[in-house]
Structure formats: C-alpha cells, structure tokens
C-alpha cells in the first residue's frame, strides 16, 4: 500500500507483551525491501 506521499507500507502482525500477557496487533511498517 502507498500513502498520500507515495510511501510504501506493509501490514504486519506485531507481537506485544505486557505484564498481563502477550497478544498481537496489526500495524503498518514501511516496506523493508523498498
């Protein structure tokens, strides 16, 4: 996906660990392979 400035972003499942436990969220990170 590209935002309005043309940057390429990819959706990533990101792991989060808190004192209450571990879970994942979907975030955007710029494309490492760009």
């Amino acid at each position: 996906a590209a935002d309005t400035s043309g940057r390429k972003w990819e959706q990533k499942q990101v792991q989060i660990k808190t004192l209450e436990g571990e879970f994942s969220v979907t975030m955007w990170a710029s494309d490492d392979k760009k």
Binding site: K12, I16, L19, T26, M27, W28, A29, D31
Partner: protein, 438 residues
C-alpha cells in the same frame, strides 16, 4: 576574515531550544550524505516506537510505547501512549539511539511493556487499550536499528593518504593523512606536520579532497612534501571513495582565461564577489581569482569545478537581490557589470556553462540545523537557514551577528540535521552568548 573559537558547553539541548512550538528542524531527508539520509522518508509524526520507560520503579530497564509528536532532524518529541492530549510529560529523544525500537521489539526479546507509573491507574485493561490504539497505526521498520548501524560505517580509515587543499595557500594542494573519522568528517593532518597539529577538517565528500595524483593529472599546483616514502600502514585512499564530479565537454564552448563571473569568496563565505577565470585546468576544473584582491603570483586563486554551485554568471546577484561585493578598490559604485566589462575589456562567462540544476531539496527558511563554520571547519554549530536562492542557502549561526552568515549549497556535505552531533559523537557548538562572542 572572521573566525570563531570553540565553545565547550555541554548544557545545550536541542529539545529545549526547539520546543513544541513553531520552530522546525530540517528533516533528515534534506541531507543525503548523512546516516539514514536516503531512508528517512518513512519516519513521520504519528509513528509509534518502543522506548525506555523513565517513569517506573521496577529494578530493571522497562519500555513503553510512545508516538512521535514532532520531528526535528534525528530528534523526535515523544509522548507515551496513554497520555492522550496531555503534553506535560512529552520528551525529546534521538530516534537513532539504541533505546528506540520498532513496536514488537520488546516481545521478541521477552521484555514486557510496562506503562508509566503516573498513568498506570488510568486504564484497567491495558491490553484492550493497546489493541485499540495500535491497530492500524504505523511503526518503524523492524530493521531500523540495523539500518542505522550500517549507515554509520564510513570507508575512509586512519592513515589513508589524500590530496587536500593547503589551508594556508588555497591555490595548491598537499598530501595529508586521515587521522580521525567522525560521522564521515575527516581530520586530515598534512604529511609534513611534525607534531600532527597542522590539520584540516572536512567531510569525506568535500570537493576539497582528492585521490593522490589528482593535482598532477589536472594541472593543479601541488606542494611536494619531503617525506621520502610511505610509513607502515599508510595507503593511498582509493579513487572510488571520493565525491564524483560531472563529466564536462571542454572541447566545445567552455570557460576561458579572463572570463568574468560571480563566485562565493572562499575566504569570506558571506560574500559573493566579482571574479575571473584565471586558468582552465583539465577535467572541468578552473582556477578562480577574486577581482581586486589577487596576489600577483596567483597564490590566492582557488579551484572550483565548472559545475560547482559556488560560481554564478555575471548578473546572478542582481537578479536575485543579493548584494554583490565589487572588486576591492573599485570606486565606481554602484557596481554595474556592463561598465565593468567594458572598462576591463573582458567578457562574462556564458550563462549556459553554469550549473542551473535546482534539486528539490526540501529546505525552508527558518529551519534549524547543524552547520560547519567553513571558516573554522572543525566546528559544527547550531544554525538556521535564513534565505534560499534556488539551490543556495544562507546559513546563519545562532547567536552570532549576520556578518558571520555563510552561503552554502543545499547539497553541501557540511550541513547536518539536528541531532547529528549527538548521533556521531561530534562536539556541537551551541548558540553564542554575548559573553562568549566577546
């Protein structure tokens, strides 16, 4: 020639200086020669990072998520997740320091995220809170720290030999040895310096340094040193490490001896002066003299490439409302090129020979940055872009009078983003106080 003395002061803080208001730091993407300079476009306000939690009573290092509120060069104003619109605990951090990570880094290392003590009570279900806040948000690429480390590697090494302008006689070069490399800036010691104190600082992409043999190959004056042979460990820096200049066709219309132009005075970078092509060298290089201040033997000529952004056609200053410095001793003021060319029986260098590229540089007047004082090139100072003329920037050194301002090209390797000194370990000169100026 006005120069500054180094002011050792470690209390300067870019964060306090820029604050959360309208002051702007030039973005890292304006500086292609710095670490991360070509991969910073993706770093924007709103991005989430994992950062050290400084509000925790736990005995170990713990982290929490923060979002970028404002960017200034390598530095970011961060706000811990959970503070919402409360800016009271916002803090500045350099994004390239080891304690900043993409979201997900803590979990990959088994480290729990712990909310700051002062907001711990505000939320009963932090998991639900984070899922809501982070889903669909942006974070750094997972290899961000690796990219930073890779971009901090520089090919110049200690004891490499280069040819560099002789700072005492700009018309010639000398051999010098790399003694130190900090953030791509080289401390060069002239080969014959007995105690190693005769040095010169410049960036590895500076147009003032060249491979061994360059001067001879283009016909530039060179001070031969009496050092008979290279000592152990010394090696000529390979040609591919140096900045490339554009190839030019000198067989067609090209600069000729005696042609007049306007040039930034290398001894007073605040001034653009009336100048003359004194000698045409090979590979597109020119020896330039400032009219009215030339030594009879040419010892104050200096070398600019024909495509240099520091030379301009006659009339450039007038068109752009820049004050042109007339030749010293020239009394027929205001200076008019038409009259001067007639009086000196000379011609202006054709406009089409000059570099007219204007990159989409991204600088805006008012932007803060770290800039080398080119009259004292070991000093990197807190500075502001105050004027932009095509690709030319007027750099003001904060706290100093305007007479110390310098004209610098937008692609100069002597300009750095806010936070570059902190990142590379170079000493930053803070804004001058009245007392230190005195």
């Amino acid at each position: 020639v006005k120069t500054k003395a180094a002011v050792p002061l470690d209390s300067f803080d870019w964060g306090n200086y820029i604050g959360s208001g309208d002051l702007m730091g030039a973005p890292v993407s304006c500086f292609k020669h710095v670490p991360m300079g070509t991969s910073w476009d993706d770093i924007t306000e709103g991005i989430r990072v994992e950062v050290l939690n400084s509000d925790s009573s736990l005995p170990m290092k713990v982290y929490w998520i923060a979002s970028i509120i404002k960017l200034a060069g390598f530095k970011a104003l961060l706000r811990y997740e959970g503070f919402d619109s409360d800016s009271g605990q916002d803090f500045w951090s350099n994004l390239c320091v080891p304690d900043i990570h993409a979201v997900g880094w803590c979990a990959s290392g088994g480290k729990p995220l712990v909310p700051p003590k002062s907001i711990q009570h505000k939320v009963t279900n932090w998991k639900a809170f984070l899922v809501k806040r982070l889903t669909g948000a942006k974070t750094l690429p997972s290899d961000f720290s690796t990219k930073v480390q890779e971009s901090m590697q520089f090919p110049f090494k200690k004891l490499m030999r280069v040819e560099v302008v002789d700072k005492a006689h700009l018309c010639r070069t000398r051999v010098a040895l790399v003694q130190q490399v900090i953030g791509g800036r080289l401390r060069l010691v002239y080969e014959e310096s007995q105690d190693g104190s005769d040095d010169f600082w410049c960036h590895m992409y500076s147009p003032l340094i060249h491979t061994i043999g360059w001067s001879r190959s283009i016909g530039h004056r060179f001070k031969r040193s009496d050092v008979a042979k290279k000592l152990d460990g010394q090696v000529d820096a390979p040609g591919q490490l140096f900045a490339k200049v554009k190839d030019v066709d000198q067989s067609g219309e090209w600069f000729k001896d005696g042609m007049k132009l306007e040039a930034i005075d290398p001894l007073n970078l605040s001034a653009i002066c009336v100048a003359t092509v004194r000698k045409v060298l090979a590979d597109g290089y020119l020896m330039i003299g400032i009219d009215g201040s030339e030594a009879a033997d040419g010892s104050d000529w200096f070398c600019y490439h024909g495509t240099s952004p520091s030379i301009f056609p006659a009339g450039f200053c007038e068109i752009n409302s820049i004050e042109l410095t007339p030749p010293r001793g020239y009394t027929k003021l205001p200076f008019r090129w038409f009259d001067y060319l007639r009086e000196t029986s000379s011609v202006a260098a054709p406009v089409k020979l000059f570099n007219k590229d204007v990159p989409n540089h991204g600088f805006v007047p008012g932007m803060k940055l770290e800039a080398v004082d080119l009259m004292e090139p070991r000093l990197v100072c807190v500075a502001t872009v105050t004027r932009i003329v095509h690709r030319l920037l007027r750099i003001h050194f904060d706290g100093w009078e305007d007479e110390y301002d310098q004209w610098v090209d937008c692609e100069s390797p002597d300009l750095y983003p806010v936070g570059w000194c902190q990142l590379t370990g170079y000493q930053l000169q803070p804004p001058a106080m009245q007392a230190s100026r005195d």
